[in-house]
Structures are given as C-alpha cells and as structure tokens.
Symmetry: C2
Subunit: 77 residues, 2 copies
Amino acid sequence: MPLVRVYVSLKPQLLDSAGRTVGDALKSLGYAEAEDVRIGKMIELNLTSFDEARVREMCDKLLANPVIETYRFEVVE
Amino acid sequence: MPLVRVYVSLKPQLLDSAGRTVGDALKSLGYAEAEDVRIGKMIELNLTSFDEARVREMCDKLLANPVIETYRFEVVE
C-alpha cells in the first residue's frame, strides 16, 4: 500500500508566530544556536493506490491552503 | 547555516483524531484511496551550528512529547 508523505510549509514571507515562540523557548533553554524556527505539517497518506495528479488535487483542495502555504510530497513505499 | 528538519509523529498505537477527520474529508471529496491519514509536525531549525546531541536534546525537551510522539531529524544543508 503506497505511503505518501506531504510536507506543508507556511510561505517564507509570512510570519510564523508558533515557530517564533518555539525559537524563543529554545533560546531561553540555552540553545542559542536556534536562529530561526518554522513549523509545518507532515501528513502521511496511506493510499490503496497512488496517482500523482490525484495527490496534488488532495493537497490543493484540502491538505494545504495555497494562499499561505506551499507543499511537496514524496512516495515513501 | 545548517538547516535541520525535525519530523514529529504521534505514536502509531495512538488514535490521531485530526488525521481521521482529514481522511474522512478526503473520502467524502471522492478520494476513496485515502485509507488512513496521520498528521505530524515538520519543524525547520535554522541553526548557527549543528550538534547532533544538542538537537536530540531540543527534541526531547521541547519539540516532541516522548510519551506520545516519536521524532526523527535530518540535516538538510
């Protein structure tokens, strides 16, 4: 059964406030090397069959918001 | 500047209700091949320097909850 991993990221020009908060927390824990943190989603799809065009449709329609997010996906197995 | 991507997943034995909801939504949109969906996090760390043991610490202390989540990470550049 194909496993597809979809990675959804906020567009780089948008402020990621959750990422900012995590970055600040890392710094306050002593990890001064944490210069910038951004948080995205990893969506694992177990599919009965893989069709690239259909996975792209799923991303465009539901899994990502193309106004503010970008995505990429890979077939893992 | 090293970029590290941390992938955080809910442990497989735990119910992922958000993933379940997305899976149901995909099926109702006509994507019957979406057998199972699980949602995790992708955390991008821009570091001034990379030290594997320190990144592991960041994951254990803040980025993942080891009780319910697993993680892996990769150095991208």
